[in-house]
């Protein structure tokens, strides 16, 4: 037998302490905050949740954060991304999409910042047709392109600068845009007691 037990003991206690701090404490502390507040974020509808999955599946979170920092930390508010985030803004988020990169802009309040569904669709179809300097990938595979002299379908959108060319969003694109539209975290959260 040897001294291995010292390392088993020491290793186990450091990891247990770390679990205590970062897994159990937030569970208790942040959970209580959530109960006091109603979020600025409304609960997601069925379509918004489906759209949220499209967001996750296509890895939007690797370039877009959904957390706004205090003005001390950065020019977040200057860019129009809304007020600093609160824990209650995320109570319906599973999985969380806070993100860690800003290769693209923050999306905390994209629903109020860019409320046009048509703009969102055209931008998702081909980002560079609207934002010349963008390095975002296009999601053309979520759109059908149709040539027609008149609007071929209720939700068809004409491609700007291309007469008679339309894009028709598939379900994934519609849901994704619904999910983006639901992000309006520039509103103030409401206390639960003040709702009824």
């Amino acid at each position: 037998m040897n001294k291995a037990y010292i390392f088993v003991l020491g290793g186990t206690s450091t990891i247990t302490l770390s679990i205590f701090i970062f897994i159990l404490m937030p569970r208790i502390q942040v959970h209580n905050i959530n109960k006091e507040m109603i979020s600025a974020q409304a609960p997601y509808t069925e379509n918004e949740l489906k759209g949220r999955h499209v967001y996750v599946e296509n890895g939007c979170l690797y370039c877009h954060s959904q957390q706004v920092r205090d003005p001390v930390a950065g020019a977040d508010q200057h860019f129009g991304w809304g007020r600093p985030s609160l824990p209650s803004d995320y109570i319906y988020d599973q999985p969380h999409l806070l993100g860690t990169m800003r290769t693209g802009p923050d999306l905390s309040n994209i629903g109020s910042r860019q409320p046009s569904r048509d703009w969102q669709h055209l931008h998702l179809y081909n980002p560079r047709s609207l934002v010349e300097w963008s390095i975002m990938p296009g999601f053309s595979f979520y759109y059908e392109v149709v040539s027609a002299s008149e609007k071929p379908k209720e939700n068809a959108i004409q491609i700007p600068g291309k007469e008679g060319q339309w894009i028709i969003p598939k379900d994934e694109a519609e849901n994704l845009v619904s999910c983006l539209m639901s992000l309006k975290r520039d509103r103030e959260p409401v206390k639960a007691s003040e709702v009824k």
Partner: protein
């Protein structure tokens, strides 16, 4: 309601008491001088004839006193190493594609399967679970018998674990392709596939612990400390972090980054450091500069590194005390990092000439230097003033690659190149290809880390500029994104070379067949 609250309180008290009891027991053990080590322990990795003699990359046939131990578990070790090198090649192809997509967003963009947001998590998960973990485990399995003087136990279980692990990684990747993902960074593999990884992990840890239990050594060498704790830490982290039902919202973000930073700090870092602690003195033929100092390095890492994760969420909606704690711990990491650095670099400095003759030592020393640089970088940008610039930028990506590539991967390249000839009893046919691998990889990662680091820093300055625009932050990073692709290409080329090197040594050479 009340019942669940009570359960939580009981849990809290329980974990807190266990950790405090553990610490008390540890301090008692320290007082009883159970842990203070005799200086002679540093020499336990040498046979009498090996002291003072540099051990170079190639082996002399018929003069290897370690062969019996080395070959006690040859099959699973080779399986782990070879599969990891194949994953490395695949994972870095994805990495390079992702890099291209930053400056050529239309590139391969019409296919849903090849969109940026799928290739990026594939790159990260393949490198973490396909390359780093099995490669480090493979080298650790080769080290454990050498350090305990006991042949590896349950060899068949280990081999089966390797197969299950690889099935898990493969399924996890297919899942990401088709949209089955948990959606948390570093934890993308869909949770049912994670069960395979957890089972395989247990099947690896148990035989290793059995071997350690049977150890014939009175004192465990420093490498073993790191291996033992890594084998405890990672399974705990992985299982808890994959219980996604436990958390949502901000709490989940906290758990997410608790895991993501601990994978680095409590899994790949200890394994990487353990390998350096063995190979560096072994190759130069002299014990490590200060064996007592390595004790500080180890326990400092165990205490500080497990609590640094929240520096990934500074400025975000997390409790302030938690952010502050992580900042303090991140800065505290400077203590173990500097002690380890003194130990490694002083040992190297005294025997610098060996670098001329040993390519493996070049990999190891490069890795040790990267560890120092990337860790001090980490302490620095956990400070708020620094973090406000670097957060959300490419700087973090450059830093991550310096740690996981410059440090861990380089050490593993060295470890694999040192272990293979000793496992197989034959040498590499073209040793100059190992050297070429080193220079390609080293040049690649330097271009990558420096280039992208500068780009990220400028990007961060622009994201703080209230008179600037977001557009400017994208435009000015473009040249640096091209530079990253150049560095990445060199790294990918070096991985193909490695794949060739590893596969070619597996084949018996013609002269051996003739015998």
């Amino acid at each position: 309601m009340m019942a669940s609250m009570d359960a939580k309180v009981v849990f809290l008290i329980l974990t807190f008491s266990i950790s405090v009891l553990g610490m008390v027991a540890f301090v008692v053990a320290l007082i009883q001088k159970q842990v203070l080590v005799p200086p002679s322990a540093a020499k336990s990795i040498f046979d009498q004839s090996e002291m003072g003699r540099a051990e170079l990359d190639s082996i002399e046939v018929g003069r290897n006193q370690w062969r019996m131990l080395d070959q006690s578990a040859r099959t699973p070790i080779l399986f782990f190493i070879v599969s990891s090198v194949i994953w490395l090649a695949i994972g870095s192809i994805f990495g390079l594609l992702v890099s291209f997509k930053f400056h050529a967003p239309e590139f391969l963009g019409t296919q849903s399967l090849l969109t940026f947001g799928k290739l990026r998590p594939l790159h990260l998960n393949i490198i973490t679970y396909g390359w780093l973990s099995p490669a480090a485990l493979g080298v650790a399995m080769w080290l454990v018998p050498r350090l305990t003087k006991v042949p590896l136990q349950n060899v068949k279980t280990l081999f089966a674990a390797g197969i299950i692990w690889n099935i898990g990684v493969t399924l996890g990747c297919i899942g990401i392709f088709v949209g089955l993902t948990d959606g948390l960074e570093w934890l993308e593999f869909w949770w049912p596939f994670d069960i395979l990884l957890a089972v395989a992990g247990a099947m690896i840890a148990i035989p290793l612990f059995r071997t350690i239990y049977l150890s014939k050594e009175k004192h465990l060498y420093v490498t073993m400390w790191y291996i033992i704790c890594a084998l405890i830490w990672f399974p705990v982290l992985f299982v808890i972090a994959n219980c996604h039902f436990l958390h949502s919202g901000v709490e989940q973000a906290i758990a997410n980054w608790w895991f993501a930073h601990n994978v680095l700090g409590l899994w790949v870092t200890p394994l990487g450091l353990g390998i350096i602690y063995y190979l560096l003195p072994k190759i130069i033929g002299h014990p490590i500069a200060s064996y007592q100092l390595s004790l500080f390095g180890f326990w400092g890492l165990a205490l500080f590194y497990s609590q640094v994760g929240m520096h990934h969420l500074l400025g975000g909606p997390i409790p302030t005390w938690m952010a502050n704690l992580s900042i303090v711990m991140s800065v505290g990491m400077a203590i173990p990092v500097i002690t380890v650095a003194i130990n490694h670099h002083v040992s190297t400095y005294k025997h610098f000439h060996v670098l001329k003759d040993s390519v493996v030592l070049r990999f190891i020393v490069f890795g040790a230097m990267s560890y120092t640089v990337s860790s001090l970088q980490g302490s620095l940008h956990s400070l708020r003033s620094f973090n406000y610039v670097t957060h959300f930028t490419h700087w973090t990506v450059a830093h991550a690659h310096l740690g996981l590539y410059g440090f861990t991967s380089m050490v593993l390249f060295g470890g694999i190149y040192f272990a293979l000839p000793r496992l197989l009893g034959r040498n590499f046919k073209y040793p100059w290809l190992l050297n070429l691998h080193f220079w390609l990889a080293a040049t690649g990662i330097i271009i990558y880390a420096v280039g992208l680091g500068i780009g990220g820093w400028l990007q961060g300055q622009e994201l703080r500029n209230v008179n600037g625009s977001f557009e400017q932050s994208v435009r000015l990073t473009m040249p640096y994104l091209y530079i990253r692709s150049i560095g990445g290409t060199l790294m990918l080329l070096s991985h193909f070379l490695m794949l060739y090197n590893v596969l070619s040594i597996l084949r018996p050479q013609t002269s051996e067949v003739a015998k």
